[in-house]
């Protein structure tokens, strides 16, 4: 992650602790952080050159959703 937002990684980790992983799938928090990092990187790139940002962010959400589905999340 970019240098000026590296401190965000720690904050994201702390905040992800509130997600009940037992009610999701194993390693869900790590997956969530990975996709969240991707979202932040898209946002950062979007500042310099215009991206289809909404589409990219929605894709990250559905990819994480895909992980839930693959992990047989029961909701």
């Amino acid at each position: 992650m970019a240098v000026n937002v590296r401190h965000l990684t720690h904050l994201f980790r702390e905040q992800a602790e509130v997600i009940d992983e037992a009610a999701r799938i194993p390693s869900y928090r790590l997956e969530l952080l990975r996709h969240l990092t991707a979202v932040i990187e898209f946002e950062q790139e979007n500042r310099v050159r215009a991206l289809p940002i909404q589409q990219r962010v929605t894709e990250e959400c559905t990819r994480l959703g895909g992980k839930l589905e693959e992990g047989n999340w029961e909701g």
Partner: protein, 720 residues
Amino acid sequence: MLEIVEAHFQNYRLLRDTRVAFSTGRERPLTVIRAENESGKTTLLTALQWAFFGDDALPTLRGGQRYRLHPLDWDTSRQGRRVEIRAEVTFRFRSLTTTPTGGEQELENEYVLQRIAEEQLGDGNAFDRFTRQPTLLQRTQAGYTPIETNPAVLIDSMIPYSLKDVFFTDGDRALAFIEASQDAKRERVRNAIRSLLGLELVEAAQKHVAKALSDLRRANSAAQGGNDFDRLTSELNGLDDEIEAAEARKTAARSAQARLGEEIVVYNERLERALVKGDREALSQQLRRAQDDREAGEHAVASSIRDYAALFRDSALALNLLAPVISQAHALLQPLHAQGRIPSTFIPLLQERLRSGVCICGRSLADGTPEHRHVLDQLAGRQLEDEANDRLGQLFYRAETFIDTLSNPGDRWVAQLRMRSARVDDARRQRKRAEETIRETQLMLEQVPDVDIVELRRQIKDATEQLTKQAQEAVLAEAEFIGLAGKKKIVEREREQILKSQRKLSRQRANEQAARDLLAVLNGTINVLRGEKLNTVSDEMNRLFLDMIVADPDQNAIIRKAEITPDYDIIVTGSRDRRLDPDVDLNGASRRALTIAFILALTKVSETAAPNIIDTPLGMTAGQVKRSILEAAVRESTQLVLLLTRDEIHRTEDLLDKYTGSACTFSNTAHYPLQLVNAPPFDDQRVMVCPCNHRQYCATCERLHDATDGTLRQRTDTVR
């Protein structure tokens, strides 16, 4: 961590061909560039910003003028109309990467950033500019090779554009964080904090994830069916739209507040500048009044002169002038009068007796009588003598009439003369005063800038009214936002219940859950950034600020604490918890200390490691405060570049000895011969760079008093 190793500029304003090496040692992180005013300090700062961020980073000039890059004295007849401006910056970037075993490893790369622009010069000040995309080369074993990704994206990830004013700081401009209107200051502090803490990125991500969640809900709703569920979904999406609209209104109102605050400051500054020279409207009125006064003066002069002249036609003047003669004549005639010789009554008596035909003795004076003939003879004999007596008689009586007046000869007329003469003088003085006022007023009017003060005052009034309206709008939008957010929570709970009750596993639900989880992490992060992190920046700023001013007995006695409020105000508290206005209650040194403390605290809390390049950091400071600011800046920066004048360096030489790893001096050729001792070897205006540090001078940089300055010694190995 980003470290600048070297920078080279060509044809960038005064930097015709300027190369600067920066200290990269951890032991001595300080680079000192000594330069007097107008010697390229700020130009170097903007040149570095341009190199990293391109044309967007160039200063905006008043009146919408474009900031030119080419040297001001570019000789088109000799050098042509096309100017190529080049910037080349070598820097290192260290980042942490995750190892396969899950640990972190530091990776260092060296890059060369090249930015080139061409300016085509027209007539006068006109020019066109074409700036090429930057080139970023990475040093590899095979030499420098271009990187594959977009250079701008990579650079922004290393040193974001939004932080350009934090890392490249103009000491005077940075004071804007504490010296501006309330809303403008707040907006600047808010933006700096949002940028440095990454809050703006997280908020943008939050907005996009929230929209994704809304879209996914719609899709889910279509898949789930059911009236309640549809209604709640629709309601939830409607609430999202309303919340977004309320937030947009609030943001727009706050931006408008900040903009209006800035406008009011600008209008007030223009008004103050104009009023220093005078109010054109008031001066015009004064001129008209003075012209009326002059006209009245003209009339008064003409009228008083007429009165004055009339005095010379007055009989009193003749009496005054003839007084000795009349007195003398009166003295001579007085005995004749006493003797009854004047006035002569003999002839009129004889004539009267002849007409009555009877003499005073009773005898008849009828025609033909001897008495009648006798009287006629007497009349004929006395005729000549009586004409003289008659004249003398008249003279006597006239003299008698004037003799009283002549008892104070000259007093009355002279008094009149003095009075009327004084009136003429007064009228002339009145006219002269009016003429002087006219001349002075016309002179002042010529100097008054062509600013419509009435219009400016109207603009300030309008802007202030709008500011109040926008403040109300922001409060209303905020209240609406809070209300809608509460309602949304209730609807979400209801909808979640329905969703759970259906217990249908679907991809849509998984997607929605994933988006909700992402949003929860983002919301939590935003709350931490707005709360805890803001407090950390505030505490760190307070610590640094108090460290810096501890040695200032004046300020130390009155300042207890500096902090950043949740509304992004930088406030200072004095004894007895009295709130101080940094603009008014702090001296220049403390204001600068507070600004630099804010910038250093932000960089520290954001964990961003980039060079702090500060132009004129010690301006307006002296004594121990100056030294404390310098020490704090060195201590809190990973790489520090200070652009200092000789005055700023004064009495910090020992600290600079201790921390400086690289130094040089900038001199402007245009300063010869008024300030530089030796003639420069160039006939154009440019910055000359010599390797002299803060204790040296040489043939290139020697200024008028360097040789007698006890802190400086001459360097003899000069290479120009």
